[in-house]
Amino acid sequence: MLEIRSARKTFYKGQADEKVALDALDLTLQTGEFGVVIGSNGAGKSTMLNAISGAMPLDSGHILINGDDVTNTPVHKRAMRIARVFQDPMLGTAASMTVAENMLLAELRSKSRTFARGLNAKRLSDYKERLSMLGLGLEDRLDTRVELLSGGQRQSLSLIMAVGGSPDLLLLDEHTAALDPRTADLVLNATIRAVDALKLTTLMVTHNMQHAVDYGNRVIMLDAGKVKLQIGDDEKTNITVATLVDHFSVKSDAMLLGA
């Protein structure tokens, strides 16, 4: 379970270009829930995910994972519980290391690392099997350096790395946005399958309203650093892209009227 309690984050505090990214944001995600986060550019979606992972310290407020307050826990310790896939395929993998080595790093995310040999035969065959599920042929390229893979292949690898070891929380920040439509579909389908199969507690940020309608059991709309709207299980089955878009336009109308 993820709980965010009145999280605040302001950039350039006290300066002319002060920017409130998170404004007393509250959010609770039950164990096994799959939340799809939408909201206009600058709404604070990435900032929220960065705050959860620890990459961005909060000004005030608390973050709890399965009841434990992790607000002051550094990124590498939170990583025991949290897996992430970034928007930029370059960010989520170690480019100069091989596919197998990247898989190893991910496998050790929630374990303590020892002086034992990293890539043993058992692990290699396990990685082969897990990568073959993607159908991209990565299972035959375990010794290839990741910098030689395409963006889509890298992102697929990031995904397999993230869902391995069943993290307590999976964070996806527009993780298919940088891919061509076909690869984006492939990565998204692999995501949905893994999240369903492993019952992962997941937050996925997307700008694709169709995805917000089709996937997940809750839509969370952010606006100006707050949760503006949540559509849960029962209601969610009835929403359409048009309803969601309406919520965006209500906002812009209000902005127009206010101006």
């Binding site: 992972s53 990459a55 550094p74 990124v75 590498h76 310790k77 990583a79 025991m80 992430r84 960010l91 989520g92 993998t93 170690a94 480019a95 100069s96 290391m97 080595e101 190893l104 790093l105 991910a106 050790l108 995310r109 929630s110 690392r113 020892t114 002086f115 034992a116 040999r117 990293g118 890539l119 350096r145």
Partner: protein, 308 residues
Amino acid sequence: MMEFISSTFTSYVALFPVTLAQSLILAFVVMGIMIPFRTLHFPDLTSEGAYPLGGCVCGMLIAAGVNPALAIIAALLCGFAAGCCTAFIHLRFRIHTLLAGILMMTMLYSINLRIMGKSNLSIFGTGSVFDWAPFVTPGFPASKIIIAGIIGAGVFLALNWFFKTERGTAMRAVGANPAMAEAQGISVWVSTIGGVGLASAFSATSGALMVQSQGFADVNMGLGILINGLAALMIGEAIVGKHSVFRQLLAPFVGAIIYYQLVSLCLAAGMPPPDLKLATGLFVLAMLALPSLKRGRGGAPAREKFRE
């Protein structure tokens, strides 16, 4: 002309064993430069101070009658501490790695002077680890080649093992992509401090061995060692490559051996020793500039991506 070539050749051949012994000792500094630059992407200048630090510590201890092997271990530990300090300065105060290294090597100069109490110290005639070489008469280059070679092989095998363990892979990940490493639960602090410390420990070991080899310690013995080491590293990488742990670890040894033979050849051919640093600097510059020259005008994108 023929005479020039033959005299150059004769004096080069005469120097060959001495140069080989020297290069095997200096291979440890090259290793101490390679680990931060390549494995950790942390361009580090500490070696310029850690090398004489190792020499001064070792020299003082041997002069005080300490066992030469223990003196090397003490030098190694001091070098480790120096490297840890550089990494800490960078991580804690967000000072650029190069500046952190310059600060450290400048401060080490005073520390080295304090350790010795004077700018140089002769330990000629006292025992050294090279006396323990099997099969050969102590004092000859062969004894140095054997001992330095054994230590070098041991270091190579140990590192080749370590960088493939779970912890070693994690350390390499911090160099490859620090943000990703952190998101995979790896402490960037622990790996960086440990890795830079390890590298400086090698530089200090090299200084300690050199002092035992030449029979004296000097606070200025590190001058220019970094550029020499970089030149050696680049030669090594050009020959054996750098795209696997094995090759990357082999490069410092191969590079050191070839580089110092080339230097010896230049000297034998009559190049004045004072010009050596200029020549080495130009060589390193050429190696760094090569990719941008190949790509033609308009400047090249940064050749290496380093941590700030």
